[in-house]
């Protein structure tokens, strides 16, 4: 059984490769890359058990997702790979979908796992807003999956061979204009022990300072619902938690003015303890909380901050 893995980042490609090796014993994994991999990257891929790196032309990547997926499809066909597994970044999802269409291949996106069963390959993914898991049978090969699953990459594996692959197909061109980077520093919400998450219960950007003060006092990271980063742009995209954002699992999750729609819940469901403050006793977050405070963040937070300062002496 042959698999081809792809991600824009070698680290993620290695993660996907290691994951496939862990769930599909005996699978032979190659990786596709649109740039010359560094020695470090080759080490990573080797550690993940990748035996070969196919180098595709940089120009196919520069021309955008349609042409990158054309190149990958051609490589899948030529190498007779049965599985194309792509790290489910946003770009990865686009490339995987187009490649699946091109290959007339079964496709499951944003999978949390893949397994081989007596019926065939089955992928698991979240559906219906993230409140449900769905098992999808991929009915023939080659098939395509985009994955958020990775496994530990070993060290000291043999570095894979690198071979150039010239593509003859191309896709319609997307021209790159610019990348606007967020100003904020990098945050790793996934590793936070405590998170204070804010939602539309806050009326102005300045008011978030209450939540930030609370977070500082209890040594928590700030997270948010999608409208806060997406619509309102009060916080950076990296802080948004949920189906289309981060999946977090802190010991303590404090939801302030967040209604708890299903797409948000999927991102924080694995938190150990959930505390929320909301004016609406019937907000969906109520049923997903260990401690639910029916109240106004504007009234409760300033008092709680004063009290915390007394107790913690800061």
């Amino acid at each position: 059984m042959k698999a081809l893995v792809f991600s824009e980042k070698a680290m993620q490609a290695a993660g996907v490769a290691a994951y496939l090796k862990s769930v599909l014993p005996g699978v032979e994994v190659s990786a596709a890359s649109f740039s010359e991999p560094s020695q470090d990257e080759l080490g990573l891929l080797g550690g993940a058990g990748v035996v070969k790196v196919w180098m595709l032309p940089q120009s196919a990547w520069a021309a955008g997702e349609p042409s990158a997926s054309a190149a990958l499809s051609e490589l899948v066909a030529k190498t007779e790979a049965e599985i194309l597994a792509v790290w489910a970044s946003k770009t990865g999802n686009e490339v995987a979908a187009r490649a699946a269409q091109r290959l007339k291949a079964p496709y499951a996106s944003e999978c949390v796992s893949v397994e081989k069963t007596s019926e065939g390959f089955v992928a698991k993914r979240l559906v219906l807003g993230g409140g449900y898991t769905s098992k999808v049978l991929l009915k023939h090969s080659p098939f395509v999956v985009s994955l958020k699953a990775s496994a530990e990459v070993g060290v000291g594996g043999q570095k894979p061979d690198v071979e150039k692959f010239n593509v003859s197909s191309s896709g319609p061109v997307i021209e790159f204009v610019e990348l606007i980077k967020p100003e904020s520093a990098h945050v790793e919400l996934e590793k936070a022990e405590a998170i204070v998450a804010v939602g539309r219960g806050f009326k102005k950007k300045e008011d978030l300072s209450m939540a930030e003060e609370l977070a500082r006092l209890i040594n928590a990271e700030i997270g948010c619902s999608r409208p806060i980063s997406g619509d309102l742009k009060w916080l950076s995209e990296e802080r948004h938690i949920g189906l289309s954002g981060k999946r977090v699992r802190p010991k303590l999750y404090i939801a302030l003015g967040i209604s708890g729609q299903v797409q948000h819940l999927v991102g924080m469901r694995d938190s150990r303890t959930v505390v929320s403050v909301n004016t609406d006793p019937n907000a969906p977050i109520a049923a997903e909380s260990d401690y639910f405070f029916v109240g106004d963040v504007y009234k409760i937070l300033p008092l709680a901050i004063t009290r915390l300062k007394e107790k913690l002496g800061s």
């Binding site: 955008g64 997702e65 349609p66 997926s69 946003k90 999802n93 686009e94 979908a97 187009r98 291949a105 079964p106 496709y107 996106s109 089955v122 559906v127 219906l128 807003g129 993230g130 409140g131 449900y132 098992k135 999808v136 049978l137 991929l138 009915k139 023939h140 896709g171 319609p172 061109v173 997307i174 021209e175 790159f176 990348l179 606007i180 980077k181 405590a194 040594n219 999608r226 997406g230 619509d231 289309s244 303590l252 404090i254 299903v262 999927v266 303890t273 959930v274 969906p284 049923a287 997903e288 909380s289 401690y291 639910f292 405070f293 029916v294 109240g295 009234k299 409760i300 709680a304 009290r307």
Partner: protein, 261 residues
């Protein structure tokens, strides 16, 4: 003047959906249906482009039981006409079948087009695939995850949200664009618009008219099980005066380990 097509999927209202208490399967048959959230953002965007540059907005929708009332909502928002494929076969549709059916609806019924707008993901499947698949079928460029769009005549310029920030790109039209909830706030149609929409054409299209073969309608990926995720929570509720709540909140946070370094 751009001719635009907007793909609007009707899905179960996932915000109200409940699982079966024993099997944990979604109780879909008792559920309400709605137009998929981001599709209304796509429609709103098309209407705004039309208001600025002229042109036409056609809605296409496919599903096992497409509800005319929900399509009327789209017409009331400002779409000019709609083509609907309502067929039980769509209950099993995967991305491959959906894209194929939509492409036939567009090709055979909607006529010439410059721009197809989709949601970046549907409310129920959340698959992020129909837009790019459609673009591949028509061999045109696509841009996904768009949160700002400019119509430039023979091109579009799009601001797409990616993990690293916002990628600004541009491509020739015809093209496919998929949007998320950040791009705009869909309008709520007024009573007047709702009344006016009664006269707009809502066309039901049958399998034969679209030359849909069994092969096209056979999914390549098949859903074999859907089950609710469960978390058990204590659900302790506190009500009372802000002072009391604040004290209790602080107590709870500290008891749960908040404040540790």
């Amino acid at each position: 003047m751009p001719n635009m097509v907007v793909c609007v999927k009707q899905t179960v209202d996932v915000y109200q959906l409940k699982p079966h208490p024993e099997t944990q399967a979604p109780l879909t048959s008792q559920a309400q249906f709605k137009n998929s959230d981001f599709d209304l953002n796509a429609l709103e965007e098309a209407i705004r482009i039309k208001e600025k540059h002229g042109g036409k907005v056609v809605v296409v929708s496919a599903g096992p039981d497409v509800k005319p009332l929900l399509v009327r909502e789209c017409l009331a928002m400002g779409a000019d006409e709609a083509y609907v494929f309502s067929d039980p076969v769509m209950a099993r549709a995967d991305g491959y079948v959906s894209a194929a059916v939509l492409s036939k609806l567009i090709e055979k019924k909607a006529g010439g087009w410059d721009l197809i707008l989709c949601g970046e993901a549907s409310l129920d499947e959340n698959a992020y695939q129909t837009g790019p698949r459609l673009a591949e079928l028509f061999n045109v460029p696509h841009v996904s995850y768009v949160n700002k769009l400019e119509w430039l005549g023979d091109r579009v310029k799009a601001w797409k949200s990616v993990e690293e920030g916002v990628r600004v790109v541009s491509c020739k039209t015809p093209a496919v664009v998929t949007v998320g909830l950040e791009i705009n706030t869909p309008r709520l149609p007024s009573l007047l618009m709702i009344r006016a929409a009664q006269k707009k054409p809502l066309n039901e299209v049958r399998r034969a008219e679209l030359e849909l073969t069994d092969e096209i309608l056979t999914p390549l990926a098949e859903v074999i099980e859907v089950k609710a995720l469960k978390t058990e929570r204590r659900r302790q509720v506190y009500e009372g005066k802000p002072e009391e709540l604040a004290d209790k909140l602080v107590e709870t946070i500290l008891a749960q380990g908040g404040g540790k370094r």
